[in-house]
Symmetry: none
Subunit: 197 residues, 4 copies
DNA sequence: GATGAATGAGACTTCATTCAT
DNA sequence: AATGAATGAAGTCTCATTCAT
């Protein structure tokens, strides 16, 4: 019987998602046509609309995947059994490494968020907020226990760090002088140094 | 009908530029139609193309304006007669205040840069590079003279700070709890604290 | 409203080509809008661009059709088993009849050739050149064997005759006093008389 | 006081007409914008509309100029004091030379005629008809006096010759192997040979 | 499960012409 | 005599989506 996999072996929906991710990151959501996506995935338009309700859905799937991964990782680091300065450092460094390793996802996430419709936008914002708050809780924990300075509101500290994470997709190049881990160590170091009392 | 600026005394090119700036920031470059721009400016499409060669030109004008202002301000602060830590702090805080005061310009700048054609893109990148290097020179100066830690490469420090500046358009709201100056002081403070030896 | 061919059995691409041929001949390429073509064919613009890459493509299709037909007919007459003066006369007369019977194609061909893009232009010129050379070879054959005068270069003789063929679309009217065949006989006669030694 | 001549010395209307002639011949009437014409002439749009009522008027002026010149020359040759075969040959050769020397005018004339509005079109056709009839009268005169064959209707003979004249703008190149006079002699020769009894 | 022809709205841009100066 | 800002209609083309098969 007819299978949903082509020569490639990968199921069609995943092939479409991979093609869309790459193209959205390369040219942006609006500059990528459905035709280009299906051509890159080696299927036809009918197939895309069989699996996804709209072009918008593809974007939302990318977001959902990124959010799920990042939240899981943050939770794991934040719940670890270690001093708060260690847990914050690990979480701060990990989000950098993960972002670099999925730079396409990150480009899309930080550049195309305003393309979502109202209800999906609300949903994504809620998940982002949850992520932000978990991270902020770490900062506040350290501030309460005296290992971090209280000079700066915790909210602002979180935004300071995530600003640098967003910015990665602007300047990081895989063939640059620093490995993802080195960049992560430096950025986490900067954060921790700024928080020294 | 939807005229925001009526046929008042403002010259047409400036009315168009103002309308485009607001709309590009609100909906993004691709989601803003030329029709919407001319309606907001209260003129016809023909008038727009009388003054600007293309929609792309409007975007480039916004960039040029932002770049000019920011470079001038950075030069002034960097060339001041004060200790390097003071000059870096002032420059770091000023770019935050200026960015908040022109948040529309900033949104466009950091989100729509990839819409420029090749030659304009090259030009903008060159000016951005110049800005980056002037800022980096301040960091390096402090590192050489021993007032800043050399733990982190100066390039990375610059990107760390500018990440937070880019990020402002994502989270800053005029009616939030902090004034632009307060945000600027906090962010400059974080930078300087991170650079303590 | 203005449908000339209703949703009958003819395939859409052929309906579009027929409508374009008629309109290009009537008003010229530039004065014919895509909107007029699709209305005459009873389809929408999207359908046109589904089958043809551009308005220019439609023109090229008309050319390709004319060139193919004319070349086939010339080859048949030129390769026939008859004296050279008979073969030239037959070929010269046939191109007149065929041109009159497809006067729309001819008008377009001789008046709109300069609207083609560079690569298509090159292709059309190459095929025209092949046609010209086949015809010239007939003249030269007769000149070598002494049945035609060598007073005029063969190239010029060919252009002389084809000038009159191009010109047909300027003056020939279907309800005029001469049938296509009579015109053809006269023009072929003039050519052969001019070539008498 | 202000004169209507620029650095150039040539009056503005003539500069406009010369620029329009060149551009119409190069790109065709529809592909030439008023903006291009005024730029080529070194004036502004206001100036063009000061001297000419419309873009269409420019085209008509080109036609009028060509028609006047050709008619004058034909009349001179036809009324000369010489045998009819000499007068026809001279007229036939002269129109070739004159056409080659004004190939731009000819290209426009033979390719853009359908761009004229109804009333100007009627006017041009009337003058063309007068020209055609004067030429035909020469042929008929020779036929009546027995120096030309009566095998072909005189109308058709005229169209045969003028077909080759129209065609010149398609194939003649100034740097080709034949001078204008040589081409003219060959084409007149072909005509006269075709008319031999 | 998947096709691809067809839709129809809307995108950017060009252009001949007018008019106040 | 000449300017050039502004108009407004029309132009070509793109695209997400639908639907009969």
């Amino acid at each position: 019987m007819a299978r949903t996999t082509e020569p490639n072996g990968t199921p069609v929906p995943q092939r479409l998602l991979a093609a869309a991710t790459r193209l959205f990151a390369e040219r942006g959501y609006d500059r990528t046509s459905v035709q280009e996506i299906v051509e890159a995935a080696g299927v036809t338009k009918g197939a895309l609309y069989h699996y996804f309700g709209s072009k918008d859905d593809l974007l939302h799937e990318v977001y959902a995947r990124v959010l799920r991964v990042q939240q899981e990782r943050l939770d794991a680091f934040a719940d670890a059994d270690a001093p708060v300065e260690q847990r914050l450092r690990d979480a701060a460094a990990d989000v950098v490494v993960t972002t670099i390793e999925n730079l396409d996802d990150a480009s899309i996430f930080f550049r195309s968020m305003h393309h979502l419709g109202p209800e999906k936008d609300k949903q994504v914002r809620a998940e982002r907020r949850r992520y932000h708050e978990r991270f902020r809780a770490l900062v506040e924990e350290g501030q309460r226990s005296g290992v971090f300075s209280e000079a700066t509101p915790a909210d602002l500290v979180v935004d300071y760090h995530f600003g640098s994470v967003h910015h990665l997709s602007t300047w990081y190049r895989p063939n640059g002088p620093l490995t993802p881990q080195q960049v992560a160590d430096h950025l986490a170091d900067l954060l921790l140094r700024a928080l020294r009392p």
